[in-house]
Symmetry: C2
Subunit: 157 residues, 2 copies
C-alpha cells in the first residue's frame, strides 16, 4: 500500500523537510510514503475563511480519484492509538487498498464536501499543532504503523 500525506499550504521549513526525509527513508525500503503539497494558485486573505476553504476543496477534489482511500486528519475525529493505526493499515491492505491518502485538514477545517468524501476521520491529539509539524508527526506514525506490522523493534508500547 502506498501512502500519501496531503497537505495544503506552504513549503516546509528546512527542519521539517529534513525530518520528513528521515522518516520517509526509513519507511520506503519496505512501503512507500510521500508528502503531496497542494499549493493554492492564488493567495486569499485569511479573513475570508470560507473562500479559502473552498479553494482548498477544489485543490483536493481535483487530485482525488476513485483509487484513493481518503482519511481526513482532524482534531474532531476519532483518536486512535499507534496500534490502531497499524490495524487500520492492515485492514485496508486486506481490503486491497492500493493508495491511502492521509489528508491534513486546513487550519480552519475542511468543507462539508471533503468531510463527506472522507472514509474516516482520525484525530492525532487534543493538542493543536502547526501544519508543518503535523506533516512530520504523520510521517513518523506511518513509519511506526508499518514497523508494527513488520514486527520491527521500533515500537514498544
Amino acid at each position: 500500500m502506498h501512502v500519501e500525506i496531503w497537505s495544503v499550504g506552504k513549503e516546509n521549513e528546512s527542519f521539517i523537510e529534513d525530518g520528513l526525509r528521515y522518516y520517509f527513508k526509513k519507511t520506503n525500503p519496505v512501503n512507500t510514503v510521500e508528502l503531496v503539497l497542494l499549493k493554492p494558485a492564488k493567495k486569499i486573505a485569511t479573513t475570508d475563511i470560507e473562500r479559502m476553504k473552498l479553494q482548498e476543496e477544489e485543490l483536493i477534489l481535483k487530485r482525488l480519484s476513485s483509487q484513493h482511500y481518503l482519511v481526513l486528519l482532524d482534531e474532531r475525529g476519532k483518536e486512535l492509538n499507534s496500534i490502531q493505526w497499524s490495524q487500520q493499515f492492515q485492514q485496508l491492505m486486506n481490503n486491497g487498498t492500493k493508495n491511502l491518502v492521509l489528508l491534513i485538514g486546513g487550519a480552519y477545517g475542511v468543507t462539508d464536501a471533503i468531510k463527506k468524501r472522507a472514509s474516516q476521520v482520525w484525530s492525532l491529539s487534543n493538542l493543536v499543532f502547526p501544519h508543518q509539524l503535523v506533516r512530520l508527526i504523520v510521517a513518523e506514525q506511518v513509519y511506526r504503523a508499518f514497523s508494527i506490522l513488520n514486527n520491527s523493534p521500533y515500537h514498544h508500547s
Copy 2:
C-alpha cells in the same frame, strides 16, 4: 516563568535540534524555555528495564530541587488541549511558580518515586512518539501556550 524540557537519552538528530532552536527562538524573547538533556553515565542493556528506570530516576532526582514544579509527560496522564496548557501555565504563574519542568518519561515509563514527585501528569496524545519528536512537540506547545496567554495570533482554534 522559566520552562525546562527534561529528557533522558541521546543527543538530538539534527532536524530535531534545528526544530527546537526554531521554537525556542520564537519563545525566548518573551518567556524562556530550554531543553535539559539528562545523559546516563553508563549504558545499561535495554533488556534490563528496571535498572534502566532506576538509573533515570537517579538522574532526575539529583537535578530536581524544591524550586521546580514537576509535570510528567506520559501517555497514561490527563490529555489536555492547547488552551488548557495555557491555562495551566497561567495558574502556575499566578501561584508564583518560577521554574516549570516538563519531564518526558522514558520509553518504559518512570519509577513510582518520580510519579509521586510529579505534581501533575499530562498526556500529549494516544499515539506513541519517539522521544526526540516529543521534545519538538513539547517545545512547540510551550511556544503555543505562551502565545495564547500573550494574545498572539499564532493560535487559532
